[in-house]
Amino acid sequence: MKVIINFSKGFKNTGKTARMVFLFFLINLALSMVLAVPMYHSLKNSFGQSKVGERMSKGFDYLWWEEFRDEGKGLDKTFTPSIIGKGAILNNLEAFVQMRFFKAPPLVLIVGILYIVLHVFLAGGILSIFNMDTPKFTAKGFFKGAATYFSRFFILMLISWVFFIAAGIFLNEGLNSILDDVADNSLSEITPFYLGLLFSAIIFFLMLFIQMVFDYARIKIVLEDRRNVLKSALEAFGFVFKHPGSTLGLYYLILLIHVVVTIIYIFIKEFIPQSAFIGVLIAFLIQQLFIFALIWVRCWLYSSQMELYRYIK
């Protein structure tokens, strides 16, 4: 019940701060555009004047893509046929679980790290807004909160990286080495397949668990104006372990919303023909709506978690 109450409260609060969600969306879009512009020019230079352009308008020219991949460098290497629809999501999910994000081309990595730091900065603003009795987005209130908590959140982020590295790199390597041993001694590929899936799920949920714990650490810092970041993190662990049902229940409920939104997007995306300008435009709008929805869900998570923390405390 606790979960449902705070889940719906969180939804309402997010609804009241739609402008804030939109701001986050714009930041996401703007940062992405920094890389999208060179990608556009790269594609245009590659096939804009060729007959390949006509084929790429109607569908996908696999032969062209092989040329582009073989001759491309840096950012160009990230363009693959699997970026379409479900592929984009699965690529990122697998890169996340296998910690391959950090092997991305330098430009993507720089933008990614910049986005993380921006996110750390903005998180203070988000939580300040949700900390109001009646959450309402004001630029002044938002940026004041962001500035107030940035240094503490930044340290918190560095602490969290210890856990992320432990789980994402060291544990992953350990599990992979077990998997290799099992695979080397298997008569069929089925055992290593399922074991691989299990290990991936362990890493995935562990990483999300770390994220959730540090969400509560941030909430503690804001709600209780904590200065000791490390203590807040430790207490956040304690809080989660003390209330696993409600904290995890809420987290997974919102994760489920995230999954549903993603599935709906994949489904819709499959049916949009992009062979004419109007189709491209509609697809673009739906794609942006999808990203907006994901950011909404992220804000919903913060808001709900804050409400839950307050509720329990």
Binding site: N28, S32, A36, M39, Y40, H41, K44, S46, F47, G48, S50, K51, V52, G53, E54, M56, S57, F60, L63, E66, E67, R69, D70, P81, S82, I83, I84, G87, A88, L90, N92, E94, A95, F101, A104, V108, V111, G112, Y115, I116, H119, V120, A123, M157, L158, W161, L187, S188, E189, F193, G196, L197, S200, Q211, F214, Q274, A283, F284, Q287, I291
Partner: protein, 673 residues
Amino acid sequence: MKKISLKEARLLKKFLVLGFISSITFGIFLFSSVEPLCKQIANYTMDLKLDTDKNIISATELLSWTNDTQASTDELRFHLYWNAFQNNMSTFLTEGERRSGRRVYKSNKEDWGYCQVETIKIMKNQFFEDHDITPTIEFRQPDNGNLYDQTVLSVKLPQAVRPDQTILLEIKFQSKVPRPISRTGVYKDYYFIAQWFPKIGVFQDGKWNCHQYHASSEYFADYGTYDVKITLPSSFVIGATGEHREKNDNGDGTTTHRFYQHSVHDFAWAASPRLLEFKEAFNFAPGKKTEITLLLQPWHKKLKERYLNAVKAAIKYCSLFYGDYPYTTATCVDPAYNSRSGGMEYPTFFTGGAYFLTRKGIPRPEGVTIHEFGHGYFYGLVGNNEFENPWMDEGFTSFLDTEVYYAAYGDPVYSKYYFGIPFTFKDIYIPIESYGGISEHRTTSDMDEMQRFSWKFMEEDSYGANSYSKAELMLRTLKRFLGEELFGKMIKAYSTRWWFKHPGPKDFYDVVSEFSGQDMSWFLDQFVHGSGKLDYAVSKIANQRQIQPEGWFDGKYQKSLHEKQEKALYESEVLVRRLGEVKIPVDVLIIFEDGKEIRENWDGQYRWKKFTFKGSVKIKTAIVDPEFKLVLDVNRTNNSMMRKSNCLAPLKWTSNWLVWLQHALEFFTIFGG
């Protein structure tokens, strides 16, 4: 397990020798229901027992070898391929490690394998007397002098084998089955046994063609009849080269299987108690029938139909394109995981390769199954020397498998595995021009020329790109250059004409030239003996207003006519360039804005060519090689140019890429702590 007694051994030997001699006397093909397809030069009658506790094969091999050349020889050479796995200093393993980082799986004592000849004796016949030649055994290293390598054995004969003479040998040997390193071995209870017996080399032009076993090389042997008895535990399901003629329960927990096949140059077998066996008779053409056997891993049971259909498609289309499949059996083995025996070919017997999760449109297991069956035509029937001309086997077979796959299944879809689960992208098809490996050719093949001994390529990737991809793409380019019908006749003639004859590159050149009516070495040499790339491009389209006379002409001033003209006249130009080294005549198609098309032909010799036109209509598009005949062209994108740039496609694909990036950034926020 019960050991064979001395008395039984003597009886067995007697039987083998009698059977062998009688088969020689009355014709080696006594047991064959079908006439042999060629001269049987190297005939093997073998009786072996597999000890599954020690992984030892103990065998007696009776070999009848006929000198089919005009020269005499007082030496015989044999391949002992499994000695490549007896220590880490063999040529196979040192090359493998150096070139591709391939390491010995594990160096436990029991993991190594070998083939040890215990005795080798000449048996009396009309040309020779009984003689034990075991003391003359020596190991040779003709390719690199690596004294640790014992993959080639030589014996001296007391007298030379003269042209057309036949020598009979009795060879006793023991082979230790290795843990799989490459292509063969035992993994748990799955045995894949190939290149396991002392196999005579090919005597050609007065010398032995018997190379050491190399990491990148495959095989070369003479044709003959194989009559092989295999004794192993009764619980084992077995498949092998040729017809499964007999199966006798020995009453001691073992069963002896007899396999027989004439007109082949190798014999391999696979056995495991877990294998599921499916048999099906297949009529692939009127009056033409073969029996398909599928040995399947139990966890791939649901792939049964896909495997069987692939074998049927391969038999049907190969028969159509390259000549009727001449054997009565075709056995496909689904290899065990970790057995490293997948994707290999042996006469009438081959391995596929599957993953328990697959989807429609993903060519797995079909692609590899068709490919390995297809080898039966080039490695098998034509009998190319895979050591020396790898492209003539791998390239022709890759070409064959692509043609058969596309004829039977259409374009495969692009797929990707996430967490081991296959996902297909239904709107993205892989065109035939790509399936052949243009990407590998583009990135690697200029390291070497195609015609190299298989172990002499700069690196493993270059061996692959040249032997598989470039050769396949060359054949597809040739097909489009000659036209489908002519090429079809030519390739079928090459295949059937050269069955059982070990052709070399020149023999192929001759057939191409004969069918095309001209000496085609100018075409083939550029690929076979060249490492240049093929790249034609449209570099420029220009539509300029025609220059009108203006100024003083013979004392008279003339004003420009431009202003007076209602309709502009243009001097249009298309610049076509040859960016690569390969020169082939090529068509250029020029399309004007009113839809009019002009087709020009360029000999492609010089580095560039300009085509100019005068008229009132501008050029809209120019395409060099509009029919995409030159499949080896490394850059197809630059083959066409449009006057106006297409902005929609870059926009569309940037927006698709953008959402991937935006979504990735959202994942990054998790690391925000």
